[in-house]
């Protein structure tokens, strides 16, 4: 300890040349020098240190001790942290709730993602994480077994009353778990892989569907019906839908396909790729999407669209008025007026059902076919439509917006006949 005249008292010649000077003596030397100093503050320091001088040896040891003391403390803290993780992390999840009845019989199926899933023979509690799946469940008549669905499941109206578990992309795992589902249905299209993995970790079986064509939608529906124990309802539903599609195909046979641009979003211009079920739905309505891309939601270059000059622009909207407004906005944008379809007001609006791989898509297909190829349906009544879009026939003046479609057609029939030949 070198309290003395200042921080550097160690540097007396005494110190340097006498490395082996016993500490006490060196201290005494400095103490003497120091006592003669006139600074009262320092003297107080001197006194203070004088009192503690005998423990200087101890202070050195204390020095070392405090070093190892907090090293030990540090280590202990680290071990505590690691230790806290272990028992909780090592916790294996308790088995699913044991109901009063004997555990259900399980069997293994392969879902459309290629995964092997163990599910009960007849799942009693279903959670759907996609609006299309919810619709399908209602169409199959198993809605009583549906215990939870997403915020966006809005069709049919009763689906909105089911317990909500969040969005398709970010469902709340706790809510799902609290419902104790036997099976959770997902689609590859709008659900995330992470959600599926998370449910796997929790021991909840998930079944994924993945439809890229309308036929796949039907087969997917049948598989779902088999999975849920209602194969007959599935056969009846798919049979009916298939029949309608066949009938549609017959009527449209021979007619050249209408070249269309299906507009998902206007700014930026986003359409659908050729491998999506929407593109296939368009084909079923004898409409060919001009977009030749393998991406699901390709962003289109307006120049490319102009080069390809589609016959019709197709919108999917819940209300025809908003679609008409969208079209007006679009036609006022620079560059769009080059399109024949815009100048001739060739746009078709169909229900949003076309966006969902569910039974309702067939209705949307039929609706689109009627709008694009009215000549093929002159002798047949117009199909059931959930919404009532207003589509001006080519060349005809705009009918009043609120008129129902059937009236419109009858009024315009002579005109259509006249122009049908011209096409």
């Amino acid at each position: 300890m070198q309290f003395g005249r200042g921080p550097a008292t160690v540097i007396g010649c005494n110190a340097e040349s006498q490395a082996t000077l016993p500490r006490r003596r060196g201290w005494a030397y400095f103490a003497r020098e120091y006592a003669s100093s006139t600074r009262p503050a320092s003297r107080r320091v001197f006194l203070l240190s004088n009192c503690s001088q005998p423990s200087r040896q101890g202070r050195f040891v204390h020095h070392i001790r405090s070093n190892s003391a907090h090293r030990a403390g540090f280590l202990a803290g680290a071990l505590l942290l690691l230790g806290a993780w272990l028992p909780l992390g090592a916790q294996s999840f308790p088995p699913p709730p044991s109901v009063a009845s004997p555990p259900p019989a399980m069997h293994e199926v392969v879902d459309e993602f290629g995964r092997n899933v163990r599910v009960p023979q007849i799942p009693a509690r279903i959670v759907s994480l996609a609006p299309s799946l919810t619709e399908t469940l209602y169409a199959l008549g198993v809605q009583d077994r549906l215990v939870g669905d997403t915020d966006y499941c809005d069709y049919p109206a009763e689906a909105q009353k089911k317990t909500k578990v969040g969005g398709p992309i970010n469902p709340n795992l706790e809510e799902i778990a609290a419902l104790h589902p036997d099976i959770v249905l997902v689609t590859k299209e709008i659900n995330r892989l992470e959600t599926v993995r998370a449910l796997d970790t929790l021991g909840i079986p998930t079944y994924a569907t993945d439809a890229h064509t309308v036929d796949e939608i039907l087969s997917s529906t049948q598989k779902l019906a088999d999975l849920l124990g209602v194969p007959e309802a599935g056969k009846s539903l798919t049979g009916d839908l298939q029949a309608r599609l066949v009938s549609l195909h017959t009527k449209l046979e021979g007619l050249p396909p209408s070249r269309v641009l299906f507009i998902v979003w206007t700014r930026p211009l986003i359409s659908i790729g050729k491998n999506t079920f929407i593109a296939d739905a368009l084909r079923k309505a004898d409409a060919a999407s001009i977009v030749d891309s393998t991406q699901d939601w390709p962003q289109m270059n307006l120049e490319e669209v102009v080069r390809l000059q589609p016959d019709y622009l197709v919108f999917a909207a819940a209300h025809s008025e908003s679609a008409a407004r969208d079209f007006e906005t679009l036609s006022s944008l620079p560059g769009w007026n080059i399109l024949d379809a815009v100048r001739n007001r060739h746009f078709a609006v169909i229900s949003e059902a076309v966006n969902r791989p569910a039974p309702r898509i067939v209705s949307a297909i039929e609706d689109l076919a009627h709008q694009l190829h009215p000549a093929a349906f002159l002798d047949f009544p117009t199909p059931e439509k959930p919404a009532a879009p207003v589509t001006p026939a080519p060349g005809a003046p705009n009918p009043p917006a609120a008129a129902p479609a059937r009236v419109t057609r009858n009024v315009l029939q002579p005109f259509i006949q006249e122009f049908a030949c011209a096409r």
Partner: protein
């Protein structure tokens, strides 16, 4: 004059740890599903005693299987990001430095995306599949760390300014590559990456990964802590630090690698959660001063507290929908940043 002593350090850390404990208890109680604290306490005790069969399965699955891992992940990520933030602020001598400034997060994001793409072509068992994204992200982070290190050298040593420039350029380049990949590749798996960019703690992680993360945190944070008093001096200037006995090249490299590893680990499991690494160090500095021996553990605990709170809000505010936790940290972080900025200027 009251320098930091061991007792003062432990007492303050103890207080912060108690706050963290209280926050964790509240977080375990809150959620989409109601849980009572009493039942919770009983279950925790039986778990710690090893009697897992005595749990009521509702709690067991939900609290211990979903909530607690998520809370622990938030603790880990919050602590890692905050310690990394403190380290980079000291290393780069820049109060605006955050863990992502040197491009590690972009590298991790690219690694995760590449892993997702590769995974589509491989047939993996479920556990492996769960690991591939974090592993890919970490590999991407590691490569970026090495690349930025090589870019950031001058005369064979890391130079703060060159490092910062190299990191920013690397981050921009990698972001461009990521945007290119995301637009040109189809694939529904990539939809999840939007969430990744916003920061997402909702995916439970495999157990092996949890162990690896804890171990990695302890090693990296421990390494940084050994340089804590050197960092105090480094802030005064590198030449001055050298004249005061700091082995500057060694400190720089240890801190750079350890802090980058912490960032890489955090980002590979949770995506890029912003503001935590930037602001928690500043708040802790306001409370406890700039001494890194106090600041580093305080930031770790403070970051854990902040992120647990943010995550709890993210999963309860718009229940049942999960908000991405990055949105919460940004919503709270931006006003806080403005406040700190004004305070600093006044």
């Amino acid at each position: 004059m009251r320098p930091l002593t061991l007792t003062r350090l432990l007492v303050r850390c103890g207080i912060l740890a108690l706050i963290l404990f209280a926050v964790v208890v509240v977080a375990m109680k809150l959620g989409a599903v109601q849980v009572s604290l009493y039942g919770l306490g009983k279950d925790l005790i039986s778990v710690l005693l090893g009697r897992t069969s005595a749990l009521s399965s509702d709690y067991g699955m939900i609290v211990l299987g979903i909530r607690l891992p998520r809370i622990l992940l938030a603790i880990f990520v919050g602590a890692s990001l905050s310690v990394a933030g403190v380290s980079f602020q000291a290393l780069l001598r820049n109060p605006l430095a955050d863990p992502y400034v040197l491009g590690v997060s972009s590298g991790a994001a690219l690694g995760a995306i590449v892993a997702l793409i590769i995974e589509g072509h491989l047939n993996l068992s479920p556990e492996m599949a769960g690991l591939i994204t974090p592993v890919g992200a970490f590999v991407g982070a590691a490569i970026t760390i090495a690349a930025v290190y090589l870019l950031g050298r001058r005369d064979g040593q890391i130079d703060s300014t060159t490092l910062l420039l190299g990191g920013i350029i690397t981050a921009s380049f990698l972001s461009a590559v990521i945007m290119f990949l995301m637009t040109t590749l189809s694939g529904n798996n990539l939809r999840g990456s939007a969430f990744w960019f916003m920061g997402d703690l909702s995916t439970p992680q495999p157990r092996s990964l949890q162990y690896f993360l804890s171990f990695g945190f302890i090693v990296a944070a421990g390494a940084i802590y050994t340089t804590a008093s050197d960092l105090n001096l480094l802030l005064a200037g590198e030449k001055e630090a050298m004249h005061l006995g700091v082995d500057v090249p060694r400190v720089r490299i240890v801190v750079y690698i350890a802090a980058s590893i912490l960032t890489g680990l955090a980002v590979s499991v949770s995506g890029t959660i912003g503001y935590v690494g930037l602001l928690v160090p500043h708040v802790m500095r306001l409370i406890f001063g700039s001494d890194h021996r106090m600041l580093i553990p305080a930031s770790a605990l403070g970051g854990a507290i902040a992120l647990v709170i943010a995550d709890t809000l993210a999963r309860t505010v718009t229940s049942p929908t999960d908000l991405p936790v990055g949105a919460m940290t940004a919503a709270a972080g931006a006003p806080l940043f403005i406040y700190l900025l004004r305070r600093r200027l006044s």
